[in-house]
C-alpha cells in the first residue's frame, strides 16, 4: 500500500492569503470588484458560483498529484454531498472525501447516495465520518444526542450502511435505527464500499473507530501527543483482538522556499489579528475532546508574537487565528515541512490530508515543491534540528 495524500477544499469560501481577513472567493463576504466565483462583470453578477472555484481547486490538486480532497462540513458552508455530485463528472482521479455526521442522514438513504456516487465517479467516494463537535453547533443541526451516545449512533449507522450494502434482505433493530428487509438494488450493491476515515479523540470514539475505521484520522497535534493518541488506538485494537486501523493526519502547511519567507507570511497575517478576539480562541465551546486537547497545549502561550505559539520545531499552533479551522500546522521551508511530514510517517501515519491558504495556489506549490521531497517510511533518517529552524 502506498501513502495517500489528500488536499482539502474550502467549503465556505477562501481568501487570497493568510494576510487578510476578507474572503475574496465565494459569496461568504460581500461580492465586490475582485471577487471570484461569483464575481462581477461590468457591475453585474457574472453567473459563476462558488462551485466553479471548488472545481478549479479540485482540478489543480488533481494535476499537482493529490489523490483526492477532503470536503469538510460546517453549518455555514456548502454541502459536501452536493459538491461531490456536481464535481463527479468534472474530475478524473480526484477522490471525494465527504465529511458528514451520521446522525443527520438516514443510513439506508446514505447507502443509496454513496453507491450511486461510486457509480458516478468510478469508485472515488471516501467517507470522513465525524461524530464530535457538540455544543451549540450540534444543536444548530437539530441534534441533541449526548456525546458518547453519538458514537453509539455512528456505530449503528455504519452497521446499517454495510448491512444494506451487502444486499438483502437486511434486518436491524437498534437503539437509533430499525430496518426491515432492507438492501440496495444489485447494481448499487455491486459497488465497492467506500474507505472510512474516522475521527474522534475520546475513549468512545476510539472504541467505535476500532470497529469501523479503515483510517483513524486526527488533527495535527504536537507529535508526542499524536503518538500517544495512536498508541491508545493500537492498544485498544490489541485488547479487542482486532487489526488496528491505519493512521491519517489532517495537516495545515505554510511552506516557502526559505524559513524566513514562511515566517514573513505568518507575520503579515498576524498584523491583522485582534489580540482580544485571539484570546477567545483558546476557550472553545462544545464537548469535543479534540478541541479541548488543542486548548490545553496552547494555554499560557503568549499572543504577542506568533512564534510564541510554536510548540516544537516547525509545529505552529496559531493557524486558527488566521483562518477558520484547526490550530496546529507546519510552518517552514519546503525541506523543513517535508522533514516534519516524514517524521509523522515515522510515527505510523499512512495518509495525509494537507491544506493551505489559498487552496488553489498552494495545491500547486505543495504538490510541486514539498511532496517530491518526501522520503517515505523506508528511507527515514533521524530528523535533524538545524539552527535555522528556530522561528524568525
Amino acid at each position: 500500500m502506498t501513502i495517500d495524500i489528500y488536499w482539502r477544499i474550502g467549503m465556505g469560501g477562501d481568501k487570497e492569503s493568510l494576510r487578510h481577513p476578507d474572503k475574496t472567493r465565494g459569496d461568504w463576504d460581500r461580492v465586490r470588484p475582485g471577487s471570484i466565483a461569483p464575481g462581477l462583470r461590468r457591475g453585474s453578477p457574472d453567473g459563476f458560483t462558488y462551485l466553479d472555484h471548488m472545481a478549479d481547486v479540485a482540478r489543480a490538486a488533481e494535476q499537482a498529484g493529490f489523490y483526492g480532497g477532503l470536503l469538510p462540513s460546517f453549518p455555514m458552508t456548502d454541502d459536501p454531498w452536493a459538491a461531490a455530485a456536481a464535481l463527479a463528472r468534472e474530475t478524473r482521479t480526484w477522490r471525494f472525501m465527504i465529511a458528514f455526521q451520521p446522525g443527520f442522514l438516514n443510513p439506508v438513504h446514505a447507502a443509496r447516495m454513496s453507491a450511486s456516487l461510486q457509480r458516478a465517479t468510478g469508485g472515488r467516494t471516501v467517507f470522513n465520518v465525524i461524530t464530535g463537535g457538540g455544543g451549540p453547533a450540534q444543536l444548530w443541526w437539530g441534534d441533541k444526542v449526548a456525546h458518547d451516545d453519538r458514537y453509539a449512533r455512528t456505530s449503528e449507522f455504519l452497521d446499517v450502511l454495510r448491512g444494506v450494502w451487502n444486499g438483502g434482505p437486511f434486518d436491524f433493530d437498534g437503539r437509533f435505527y430499525r430496518v426491515e428487509g432492507g438492501g440496495l438494488p444489485a447494481a448499487l450493491a455491486a459497488e465497492p464500499f467506500p474507505e472510512i476515515y474516522f475521527s474522534g479523540s475520546s475513549p468512545a470514539a476510539i472504541d467505535a473507530a476500532g470497529r469501523h475505521a479503515d483510517y483513524y484520522l486526527s488533527w495535527l497535534e504536537p507529535f508526542d501527543q499524536l503518538k500517544q493518541k495512536f498508541d491508545a488506538v493500537r492498544e485498544h485494537s490489541a485488547r479487542t483482538g482486532t487489526p488496528p486501523p491505519k493512521f491519517a493526519v489532517r495537516v495545515d502547511v505554510l511552506a516557502r522556499e526559505t524559513e524566513e519567507a514562511a515566517w514573513r507570511e505568518i507575520r503579515r497575517g498576524w498584523d491583522h489579528v485582534d489580540p482580544a478576539a485571539a484570546d477567545g480562541f483558546l476557550r472553545r465551546q462544545g464537548d469535543s475532546v479534540g478541541a479541548q486537547r488543542t486548548g490545553d497545549f496552547l494555554s499560557g502561550a503568549t499572543l504577542h508574537d506568533p512564534a510564541g505559539l510554536t510548540v516544537s520545531p516547525g509545529v505552529w499552533g496559531g493557524f486558527s487565528l488566521l483562518r477558520p479551522g484547526p490550530a496546529f500546522g507546519l510552518v517552514g521551508s519546503y525541506q523543513h515541512v517535508a522533514e516534519r511530514l516524514d517524521e509523522l510517517i515515522g510515527l505510523g501515519v499512512d495518509a495525509f490530508i494537507l491544506a493551505a491558504t489559498p487552496h488553489l495556489e498552494e495545491a500547486y506549490r505543495v504538490g510541486e515543491e514539498v511532496l517530491p521531497l518526501l522520503r517515505g517510511p523506508h528511507e527515514l533518517t533521524a530528523p535533524e534540528s538545524p539552527a535555522e529552524l528556530s522561528a524568525v
Partner: protein, 342 residues
C-alpha cells in the same frame, strides 16, 4: 466596427508553465521532460495515464474566466502546443472569454481558415478572435513550409483576409490574386450570418501598418514600440476608412501587493533565470505594486488611446487569480465613465 470598450486579456503559455523563472524548467503542460519532480514510489500518484497537458491549459482558461478577464490569447509557437486546438478546447470550457488564436496566414487557405472559424464561432457564441502572425523568423517560416518573404508576406496577408472576409460575407465571391484565388465561394445556411472573428495585427513597419489600415480591428503593440508615432498613424487610417482601429498593448506584468515585494520577486526571477539566460528569456514588462501597474496602464490608455491590454505572467493560473482579485478591479475603477457604461 464601433469603438471597443477597454478589455483585458490573459496569455496562455503554450510551451510549459510553472513557478520557475526559467521557461525551460517549468513543469506544467508536459513540455519540459524532467522538470516535473516525481513522488517517490511509496506515495500514491494518480496522475500517470489520467492527467494530460490539456488539463493544465483548461485550468488556465477557467481561472482567467472566473477571475474576470475579457479574453485570452493563445500564441502561435512552432515549438509549442498548436494554437487552434488549444483555442478550440478553451472556447468550449469557458463562459465569457474571447479566445484569440494566433496563426500565420500560411497555415491554411483563407477559405479553409474561414470555414474552421465559422464553426468555432457557431459553437461558442462568437467568441473567437484572430491574431495573424505575419512577421515570423525566416528560418522558422521555411521550416513551416512557407517561402514567401519580405513585404510579400503582407501582400499575402492582405489577400488572405480579403478572401476570408469575402467568402464569409458573400454568396458568390470570386477572387483572383497573386497568392489566393476562389471561384464563386461563400457560406450558406447556418454557416452564414455569423460574426467574423476580430482581426488583430501587429508590427511597426510600413507594410504592417498599411495592412492594419486595411484590415485590423485591433493593432497590437509591444512596450518597446514607438507608440506616439504609430498610434497616430493608425488613428488617422481609421478616420479615413470610417471605422476605428482599436489599439492594443502586450504587457508582461509582475504585480505584487507592494513595490518592495515586486522588486524581491523580480530579483529572484532574475537570479533564477540567470542560470539559463539566453534565447527564450522573457521580457520583464511592468514591475510594481497593483496601484503602480494600474496607473501605468491608465497612462497608456490616456496618452495613446490603448484600450486592449494583453497581460502575461507566470504561473498562469495563480497569476490570473491574483490579477483578477487585485489589478482588474483597479483597472475597471479607472475606466472613463463612457467606458464604464459599455
Amino acid at each position: 466596427m464601433s469603438r471597443l470598450p477597454a478589455a483585458f486579456h490573459w496569455t496562455v503559455p503554450v510551451r510549459g508553465d510553472g513557478r520557475e523563472a526559467d521557461p525551460g524548467r517549468r513543469p506544467r503542460g508536459g513540455w519540459n521532460p524532467g522538470a516535473r519532480r516525481e513522488f517517490r514510489p511509496v506515495f500514491t500518484d494518480p496522475r500517470p495515464g489520467n492527467v494530460g497537458p490539456f488539463d493544465h491549459l483548461s485550468a488556465i482558461g477557467r481561472a482567467a474566466d472566473v477571475a474576470g478577464f475579457d479574453g485570452v490569447t493563445v500564441p502561435f509557437d512552432p515549438d509549442g502546443e498548436d494554437s487552434w486546438i488549444t483555442a478550440g478546447t478553451l472556447l468550449r470550457e469557458t463562459l465569457w472569454l474571447r479566445v484569440g488564436v494566433e496563426f500565420p496566414p500560411a497555415f491554411a487557405t483563407p477559405v479553409y481558415a474561414a470555414k474552421l472559424s465559422v464553426s468555432l464561432q457557431r459553437f461558442t457564441g462568437a467568441r473567437l478572435d484572430w491574431h495573424l502572425a505575419v512577421d515570423i523568423d525566416p528560418a522558422r517560416r521555411r521550416a513551416l513550409g512557407d517561402h514567401v518573404d519580405g513585404d510579400d508576406r503582407y501582400a499575402r496577408a492582405d489577400e488572405f483576409l480579403t478572401v476570408a472576409r469575402g467568402v464569409w460575407h458573400e454568396k458568390e465571391f470570386t477572387y483572383e490574386g497573386r497568392f489566393h484565388h476562389v471561384l464563386e465561394g461563400g457560406f450558406f445556411g447556418p454557416l452564414s450570418g455569423v460574426p467574423f472573428p476580430r482581426v488583430h495585427l501587429t508590427g511597426t513597419g510600413d507594410a504592417a501598418l498599411a495592412l492594419s489600415a486595411r484590415h485590423a480591428d485591433v493593432h497590437v503593440f509591444g512596450l518597446d514600440d514607438d507608440l506616439a508615432e504609430h498610434t497616430d498613424r493608425l488613428r488617422q487610417a481609421g478616420r479615413e476608412r470610417g471605422t476605428d482601429i482599436a489599439l492594443g498593448l502586450r504587457v508582461p506584468v509582475l504585480a505584487r501587493a507592494d513595490a518592495a515585494e515586486a522588486a524581491d520577486d523580480l530579483a529572484r526571477h532574475q537570479a533564477e533565470a540567470g542560470r539559463a539566460a539566453g534565447p527564450g528569456a522573457e521580457p520583464t514588462g511592468l514591475v510594481g505594486s497593483y496601484d503602480d501597474i494600474a496607473a501605468r496602464l491608465a497612462e497608456y490608455r490616456d496618452a495613446y488611446g490603448i484600450t486592449q491590454f494583453f497581460l502575461a505572467a507566470h504561473p498562469a493560473v495563480e497569476e490570473a487569480y491574483r490579477i483578477g482579485e487585485h489589478l482588474l478591479p483597479r483597472l475597471h475603477a479607472a475606466r472613463t465613465p463612457a467606458e464604464a457604461s459599455l
